[in-house]
């Protein structure tokens, strides 16, 4: 079954098209990396899938439903570019951040019950956050913070995980651990779509490349073929001009 379907998608911030005529389908169980140089619209694409931005033209479908009519947000987990880095002093504990994830798709008046408490406990244990539960998120290392946001996205056990540059600002070991964790989740059947600057890591762990350049979608397919395509055509890939 198709998880995400993009039909003739285009986005314009008002001063020119970021991309146009972008169509592709991400099947269930895929691990897709959205790659390309800075400014080609990688995060913009992900934000349109998450309904944060509305497309200028074209349509986004989630599980067959046009995204503006999609209501089943519990099926989707979203990891933004690290919010704790933007608000380092924000007074919120690790446990509170993970608890917030239980509101995904449940509406305003959801009451936090025993089931929610059990899900939060299990997620804290799974992501090795139990010892950090009372720590302020802004005081953790970049890698630990990213684990907290991944835990928040996963606390509902969603089918689809969207991640916006999850490895930015974290050290090499934490990055490796994060990608391994994502590969493990993908192995358990989760569909993952991730914006990434790290071509090496994406090539090692992702299955599919969604590659954007100044002209829009320049490659969509198995990531190893994408690497071959890169060498052949020499387009921007992973933040630098490759030859």
């Amino acid at each position: 079954m198709d998880t995400i379907r993009l039909e003739n998608l285009g986005f314009n911030y008002g001063d020119g098209w970021i991309f146009r005529h972008l169509s592709l389908t991400v099947p269930a169980g895929d691990f897709a990396a959205v790659i390309g140089a800075n400014g080609v619209g990688k995060s913009t694409l992900l934000r349109m899938v998450a309904r944060i931005l509305a497309p200028t033209e074209g349509k986004v479908f989630l599980y067959g439903t046009e995204v503006s009519h999609f209501r089943d947000w519990g099926r989707l987990g979203y990891v933004p570019q690290n919010p704790a880095r933007r608000q380092r002093s924000f007074p919120i504990s690790v446990e509170e951040v993970v608890q917030l994830g239980r509101w995904d798709g449940r509406g305003l008046f959801h009451r936090f019950d025993r089931q929610d408490r059990e899900a939060v406990e299990a997620t804290l244990a799974r992501f090795e956050l139990r010892d950090l539960r009372h720590r302020k998120v802004g005081e953790l290392s970049g890698g630990q913070q990213q684990r907290v946001f991944l835990a928040r996205a996963m606390v509902n056990d969603p089918e689809l995980l969207l991640l916006d540059e999850p490895a930015t600002g974290i050290d090499a070991d934490a990055k490796e651990a994060l990608y391994r964790m994502l590969a493990d989740l993908n192995g358990r059947g989760k569909t993952i779509v991730m914006v990434s600057h790290d071509l090496e890591m994406a090539a090692r762990y992702a299955k599919t490349a969604i590659c954007l350049d100044d002209g829009g979608l320049c490659f969509f397919g198995p990531i190893r073929e994408g690497l071959h395509h890169r060498h052949k055509h020499g387009y921007f890939f992973g933040g630098s001009r490759m030859g």
């Binding site: 998450a50 309904r51 944060i52 209501r71 947000w73 989707l76 979203y78 933004p80 919010p83 608000q87 002093s89 924000f90 007074p91 919120i92 504990s93 446990e95 509170e96 951040v97 608890q99 917030l100 994830g101 509101w103 995904d104 798709g105 449940r106 509406g107 305003l108 008046f109 959801h110 936090f112 009372h134 720590r135 302020k136 928040r152």
Partner: protein, 268 residues
């Protein structure tokens, strides 16, 4: 201890404690969204509402409430479009409010309502009706926050993810704006704009220095608010000082003490 038995003091204590809970509870969400000055700014807009109401012959509290609610909604609408300029947007609206107030006042050659009686109330002159108004407002705000605590927390911490989670972030923001506006408009006549605006910010600032979680910050802010009101009322009564100002200064002293303790702890 006549401070507890005198009729007007009993009303002052009750109103003070209502404000000590109501203002930090709503202020917590404002301060964490970098809107600390909104209470003060809405006071300026209320000023325009009072002056405009006096000019057109409307009841001043109603015209102040209408102006602040309208102003708060407009601020929120513009903020949603220009998120990087939150402080600039607040400043523009506040100066526009002050400008309108001055123009309306100059146009109102017949005199009319005393602006100071509407804008600068005092804890010591509270009537039983005022107490009911503050009490009802306080209960409404606390019920709103209790019912929507986590969605509001989500909104304050990470508005984008809250939207992806399917929460109606636009409506939540508008409701928070309306409640802030009503708190300012209805309370300022009773306890004074200084106390309302400061109590939305100062106890939260104290709590931010000691709390490690969101719930801790909220509870801490209410505790600092209650302490500031209690200590400030005692001081103002026995030293014959203005109660609103004394309560605010007590809160600021708490903040400085917490800051000193934190710096001392960090130095060790």
């Amino acid at each position: 201890m006549e401070i507890f038995w005198l009729d007007f003091m009993q009303r002052a204590w009750l109103a003070g404690f209502f404000m000590a809970v109501l203002c930090p509870v709503i202020g917590c969400f404002l301060v964490l969204r970098h809107q600390s000055m909104i209470g003060d700014g809405l006071g300026h807009i209320a000023f325009a509402g009072v002056a405009g109401g006096a000019l057109l012959g409307f009841q001043p509290v109603l015209s102040a409430a209408a102006a602040t609610v309208l102003g708060a909604l407009l601020i929120e609408k513009v903020r949603a479009k220009m998120r990087d300029y939150s402080d600039l947007i607040l400043a523009l609206f506040f100066y526009a409010g002050m400008g309108l107030a001055v123009v309306f006042t100059s146009l109102n050659r017949g005199g009319g309502v005393s602006l100071s009686s509407v804008l600068f109330g005092s804890l010591m002159t509270i009537s039983t009706l005022d107490l009911y108004i503050v009490g009802a407002l306080g209960l409404f705000v606390i019920a709103f926050v209790a019912l929507l605590y986590r969605p509001l927390q989500y909104l304050a911490f990470d508005e984008v993810s809250a939207r992806v989670a399917g929460l109606p972030t636009v409506s939540l923001n508008l409701w928070l704006s309306v409640l802030t506006a009503l708190t300012v408009a209805l309370s300022m006549r009773i306890v004074g704009i200084l106390l309302v605006a400061a109590m939305m910010v100062v106890p939260v600032a104290c709590s931010l220095l000691v709390a490690r979680s969101f719930s801790g910050t909220l509870l801490g802010a209410v505790c600092f608010g209650l302490f500031s009101v209690a200590a400030g009322m005692f001081l103002s009564y026995y030293a014959n000082l203005a109660p609103g100002g004394t309560i605010v200064l007590t809160g600021v002293a708490c903040f400085l003490l917490c800051l000193a303790l934190r710096l001392a702890r960090g130095a060790r």
